[in-house]
Subunit: 102 residues, 2 copies
């Protein structure tokens, strides 16, 4: 099952690293607990819409860009999962592993 | 503040109506309580990633398409809010109303 929170977490972390900011800096600017933001980035907690707006603002990235990136990544995962029969078994396994651990 | 759950709710409802399905049909197929799905559609409840995957599946719409549509709608809202000074006051007011009630 593709979980949106895992992709949102990855995208938030990637934007944060791209901008060279620490978890602590973003959590503080967004007025979010550091442990909570860390769990969101790891896909372990759902971010409420208010938290998402706050973190996007702290990162100076429009929410639409975050959701667009989330959509693009899910689209790749969906596309790859649509062809399990013509892909080598080890690639299918690695996609499944990606979906679980990511 | 732009709230992702309001756009997700709108998009889920629009896809459901587009496909001519009732709340009851989709809730039942997705194994989600009818009242809960109704609240999600109205932007009153956050849908967990599991519920979102389940509802997307029940609607036969890939999650990436749902998130893409959410991103597009938020992008329009963000774009319009970026120009409050050059827009007529009544249009700004109607955008704000849209953001609150939608």
């Amino acid at each position: 099952m593709i979980l949106v929170r895992q992709e949102i977490g990855d995208v938030l972390r990637d934007f944060r690293l791209q901008k060279g900011r620490t978890l602590r800096q973003v959590a503080s600017k967004a007025s979010v607990a550091l442990g909570y933001l860390s769990e969101v980035e790891r896909g372990q907690k759902e971010a409420s819409s208010e938290i998402l707006a706050s973190v996007a603002d702290a990162l100076d990235v429009p929410i639409s860009i975050i959701m667009r990136e989330v959509s693009d990544r899910i689209s790749v995962l969906e596309g790859m999962r649509g062809f399990p029969d013509i892909l080598p078994d080890d690639l299918v396994a690695s996609i499944d592993a990606e979906l679980v651990t990511h």
